[in-house]
């Protein structure tokens, strides 16, 4: 039987506010345990939450970026459950009137095609603390620094049909939130976490199969692997005559499998009700218009502009626009050198390669966009050839010089385009290579094209790489053919 996979994602994005969603405690990462958990976060008697305006603004910005309806009135609810890292006994969330309504995100697949994934809604909520299950004399340690950190939970419709689409969707969300600057998007530090709903159904069937929810999927790669495993598990189960149980499963990246999380049935009865400590949040049109006017150019718009106005390929435009840092670096290089294609090639090729080798992000590139743009300009105006350009790049990378011009000067890399000088070098090479000249003369005319490579190499060597290769080629051919 042919099976179809149906995937929906719930992405939790930690919002990059300075203080918590309902208290003035700091959200800074990595502090000593419980030094950033105040009376409100601890749920001590008598405290009241006060909503952080920045968390609201960030949620709205996300909503605007995914063309969603923003709720004029949104309401906070209590989601009740008992767990030691949730001191109040409930999580303040938005169940019935979320701040962000239906919207959509465009994803780009590997073949360059695009697809729209619908967003069901996105709501604001508070994060819980952390439980440390290492052995503290048979007890569990609780760190509440994270309790009360603002989260935006983005819930998609079940619109994805493969692990690749799910990963592309997660990347698109990551791009949007980092472009907006509403989250650092750091998955390793838990700033973006993802629950995946997966089900399978016979191809052509309308009704959805029973789904399993996979928790703890915290990297782009894990999303693909967890789905691949889960799809195979479900198909095997059904084909062996069994049926999928609706349950929560945990992804174990070490074993590359998902496992059932046995939880008591009661644990899922959250008894939501409106939070009496918080009033409805009312947003007016002027406020939304103001936030809309502050939106930066978003990844999808950049991608389109790079393709349509700068003439980049769909692939280049997609890769470069995925990260705001890379897109802005590319744009700075382009404005310096004026050649988009060359700028894209250098940013994705030489620069990305060097950054990867040293595990650096583009924001920490030792070579600046201005330096790289100037270097490309020197290739474009024939001051240096491609080989010398790589040498200049390496020198700038290593901090041996402030600018491309300085390095070119210091290393004597300026391309020799003086015909007389090149001719003199060619004459010398021909005089020094009688055997190769004889071979050239005696071979079939169609094979001579290949043989000329030897002479080009010798001349380039004699010029220490500075001769213009096209000129060398042309002049050599003339001179050798004159000997026939």
């Amino acid at each position: 039987m042919q099976w179809e996979t149906v995937i929906g994602l719930e992405v939790h994005v930690q919002l990059a506010t300075r203080s918590k969603i309902f208290s003035g405690a700091s959200t800074a990462f990595g502090a000593e345990p419980n030094t950033q958990a105040c009376a409100v976060d601890l749920g001590l008697p008598g405290v009241l939450p006060v909503l952080n305006e920045q968390a609201v603004a960030m949620a709205v910005q996300f909503g605007l970026a995914v063309h969603a309806d923003i709720a004029e009135v949104s309401v906070f609810d209590r989601k009740n459950y008992f767990y030691p890292d949730l001191p109040k006994g409930y999580q303040t969330s938005q169940m019935y009137h979320p701040i962000v309504g239906p919207g959509e995100v465009e994803i780009t697949l590997e073949d360059g095609s695009t697809k729209h994934i619908r967003i069901h809604h996105a709501h604001l909520e508070e994060d819980a603390g952390k439980s440390l299950h290492e052995d503290f004399h048979g007890m569990t340690g609780i760190d509440l620094n994270r309790a009360g950190t603002p989260l935006l939970e983005i819930v998609s419709e079940p619109d994805m049909r493969s692990a690749k689409e799910a990963a592309a969707y997660l990347k698109a969300i990551h791009s949007i939130v980092t472009y907006l600057g509403i989250s650092d998007g750091n998955m390793a530090e838990g700033s973006m976490r993802c629950d995946v709903n997966v089900s399978v159904r016979p191809k052509g069937q309308e009704a959805f199969g029973t789904r399993a929810e996979i928790k703890n999927v915290n990297s782009f790669r894990f999303v693909e692997r967890a789905i691949a495993f889960e799809v195979e598990r479900q198909i095997e189960l059904i084909e062996d005559g069994g049926s999928v149980v609706q349950e929560t499963r945990l992804f174990d990246p070490d074993r590359d499998e998902t496992r059932s999380m046995r939880t008591k049935e009661e644990a899922n009865d959250y008894r939501y009700f409106p939070c009496p400590d918080l009033l409805p949040v009312v947003l007016d049109q002027a406020y939304l218009d103001h936030l809309r006017s502050q939106l930066p150019e978003l990844p999808a718009d950049k991608r389109e502009r790079f393709q349509n106005e700068l003439g980049l390929s769909a692939y280049d435009a997609n890769v470069i626009s995925a990260s705001r840092d890379m897109a802005e670096f590319f744009e700075a290089v382009h404005s310096e050198c004026g050649d988009a294609k060359q700028a894209a090639n250098w940013v994705q090729g030489e620069l990305s390669g060097a950054l990867n080798r040293e595990s650096l992000s583009i924001a920490n590139s030792p070579i600046s966009a201005r330096q790289l743009g100037e270097l490309i300009s020197r290739v474009l105006d024939d001051t240096i050839n491609g080989k010398a350009a790589k040498e200049v790049f390496q020198a700038l990378w290593n901090g041996q010089g402030e600018s491309a011009d300085e390095v070119i000067e210091a290393k004597g890399l300026k391309q020799v385009t003086d015909t007389g000088a090149i001719e003199a070098m060619i004459d010398q090479v021909i005089a020094d290579s009688p055997a190769q000249v004889a071979q050239y003369r005696d071979s079939e005319p169609e094979k001579r094209g290949k043989m000329i490579g030897y002479f080009v190499g010798q001349v380039m060597k004699a010029s220490r790489g500075t001769a213009n290769p096209q000129q060398v080629n042309g002049l050599l051919k003339e001179k050798l053919d004159a000997l026939l």
């Binding site: 419980n34 601890l42 008992f82 503290f136 569990t140 340690g141 009033l279 949040v281």
Partner: protein, 95 residues
């Protein structure tokens, strides 16, 4: 809706309340009367009336995103039964 003993026990369990058998039967009566009253309210036609999410006719005031709290861990942990390395210790949670 009729309230039964099992509903009361389930609600008590979810709220982590210990109740005796006597109390449970008392709650069955109390809750049944409350539900009857709610049923009466349900019979009112509310077409076109938006649900009330808060009794106060006011909207949420927002707070500027500023860190105003200082570290008071020592004070807060003074009333905790067990702490170690700055962590609150609780009976082991097994998933």
């Amino acid at each position: 809706m009729a309230i039964e003993d099992s509903h009361v026990r389930r609600a008590a369990h979810l709220a982590r309340l210990a109740i005796s058998d006597d109390q449970a039967s008392g709650f069955v009566d109390d809750l049944s009367r409350i539900i009857d009253m709610v049923d009466q309210l349900q019979s009112i036609d509310t077409t076109g009336i938006s649900p009330l999410s808060h009794p106060l006719d006011a909207t949420q005031r927002l707070r500027a995103d500023e860190v105003t709290e200082t570290n008071q861990r020592d004070t807060f942990q003074r009333c905790a039964p067990a702490v170690e390395n700055g962590l609150y210790l609780v009976p082991r949670v097994v998933e």
